[in-house]
């Protein structure tokens, strides 16, 4: 069966996290949404339909056509699956006949018979065909906004750990370290090292430490938490509900937060109820608020407007390649775009900083421009022996151009 993972128009609600990636590459739990699709549709061939600007990068990364109708045609039918669907571990039963699965107003999936896929179709026309199919209401977790990823993280870690079926100490764990709670709820993967004076507290849920990761002394990791491959946890207080992608360096206090990968929060400072992109560097003592002093619900800037999340605990959402200086203080519900440079001023920053903007001396500025930011990105990545693909560079340039208007507007407003 062919399965087409698609992005609907709400993928843009996940900016800045989805500027440089499709929605299904975001993390929740132990894996990305894509990993969950692969797990669920393990016997099927996966195809993808995304925003046009991301197509070249995905073609390069996935090594297969993207946004192409011809490969979707054939004798078998096609299942279209919404890329924002946070699939659980209970699997998906391929429908016996054409139907669409919906969650409220959102199409989760649609099963189209093969003869319905024509060579002049595109995603829009395929979804139009799905819209005419019999509906089945399906309870589902949908990632509508960045905070949904954080909201579902803890329970997803627990669910995926159970289904993973891996536990125990396959790597190294110093005898002076402690598993506080059930030892059944720990998996230290082969090649991972837990140094002396580390506490893995499983009272709240499992602690998973992936291959190649080093957990240094005086670290406490509270479950449910997932530390991805090749990370370094440097004396941190990793509280419940954390997931770190590969290659992160984390210290200080982190709670209910997701780091996409290859980002550093090496030093002291609090990160809570946040989602941090890739190649972000949070300077020492960078701290975000995740709870308002009056315990009211938090508003977050998205899609050009300030929206009430309905949630009391919301932290910060920081785009790829952004850097914060020492002592940066982020307000509750802050959104910072990609490739920003934020220099703390001793008080709260504005709640929204457009991509590529700099924040200096209390004002939004244009920075040194695209090339300078790309050079910084190349330098940062090469330190970890990762290289910026030409397609990534083109995508970054695209985002630079498309965010120019809001960035210049923010600069003008900031000057008063």
């Amino acid at each position: 069966m062919k399965v087409l993972i698609f992005e609907d128009e709400k993928a843009k609600h996940l900016y800045p996290l989805t500027y440089l990636r499709p929605v299904w590459e975001l993390r929740c739990g132990i894996s990305t949404l894509l990993d969950k699709f692969k797990r669920t549709f393990s016997d099927d061939e996966l195809y993808f339909w995304t925003r046009p600007e991301i197509v070249p990068l995905l073609k390069r990364k996935y090594g297969k056509p993207v946004n192409e109708i011809k490969i979707l045609m054939g004798k078998e039918g096609l299942i279209l699956v919404n890329g924002r669907w946070l699939l659980g571990t209970d699997g998906f039963a391929i429908p016996a006949k054409e139907e669409q699965g919906v969650c409220g107003e959102t199409v989760l999936y649609g099963y189209l018979a093969s003869e319905k896929i024509q060579s002049d179709d595109n995603l829009e026309s395929l979804l139009d065909k799905v819209a005419s199919l019999p509906k089945k209401e399906v309870p589902a977790k949908l990632i509508n906004y960045p905070w949904d990823l954080v909201k579902y993280n803890s329970e997803t870690i627990k669910e995926e750990f159970k289904s993973l079926g891996r536990k125990g100490i396959e790597g190294k764990m110093a005898p002076e370290s402690v598993i506080y709670g059930s030892k059944e709820e720990v998996w230290v993967a082969s090649g991972a090292e837990v140094h002396p004076m580390v506490v893995l507290d499983t009272h709240g849920g499992p602690v998973i430490i992936a291959e190649g990761t080093k957990v240094f002394p005086f670290t406490r990791i509270e479950g449910p938490s997932y530390i991805g491959p090749d990370c370094q946890i440097v004396g941190g207080k990793i509280r419940e509900g954390c997931s770190f992608g590969p290659g992160c360096r984390v210290g200080g206090e982190v709670e209910e937060s997701i780091i996409q990968g290859h980002s550093n929060k090496y030093h002291d400072g609090f990160l809570g109820h946040a989602y941090v992109g890739e190649w972000v560097n949070l300077g020492a003592l960078t701290t975000n608020s995740d709870l308002k002093n009056n315990y009211s619900t938090v508003t977050v800037y998205g899609n050009g407007t300030l929206q009430d999340t309905g949630e009391m605990k919301i932290g910060a959402f920081i785009g790829d390649h952004t850097k914060t200086s020492i002592g940066t203080i982020l307000n509750t519900g802050t959104v910072i775009g990609i490739m920003c440079n934020v220099v703390g001023v001793g008080h709260l920053l504005p709640k929204y900083l457009p991509s590529f903007a700099w924040f200096l001396e209390g004002k939004v500025m244009k920075g040194f421009g695209l090339q300078s930011q790309i050079e910084t990105a190349i330098t940062a990545m090469s330190r970890r022996k990762v290289y910026l693909l030409p397609e990534e560079k083109d995508l970054i340039a695209y985002v630079y151009e498309t965010t120019k208007g809001e960035r210049l507007e923010a600069v003008r407003k900031s000057r008063g």
């Binding site: 220099v343 200096l360 001396e361 004002k363 500025m365 040194f368 695209l370 300078s372 210049l408």
Partner: protein
């Protein structure tokens, strides 16, 4: 001294807090007037505000002296007028 030059020098003195007597057309913002990288950005922002212009980020990286700034800004003002 034309108006643009006078205004550019005033901005430089204000932003970099330097002695006006040290600000000449040949003065390099970094080498002679001690501007740090962050101050270079603030200087560009100050020029934009003073003259109500937009300076392209990458082009403005080439503005290294007071004279360069005067020339660049004069050109931008001319383009905006036409």
């Amino acid at each position: 001294m034309d108006n643009v030059t006078e205004r550019v020098k005033a901005v430089v003195v204000r932003q970099l807090k330097v002695d006006p007597a040290k600000v000449t057309e040949e003065s390099d913002f970094v080498k002679n007037l001690g501007a740090e990288s962050i101050q270079s950005l603030e200087l560009i922002a100050a020029f934009e505000e003073e003259f109500d212009i937009e300076m392209d980020e990458e082009a403005s990286l080439q503005v290294k002296t007071v004279g360069n700034a005067v020339k660049f800004i004069s050109q931008v003002l001319k383009e905006q007028k036409s």
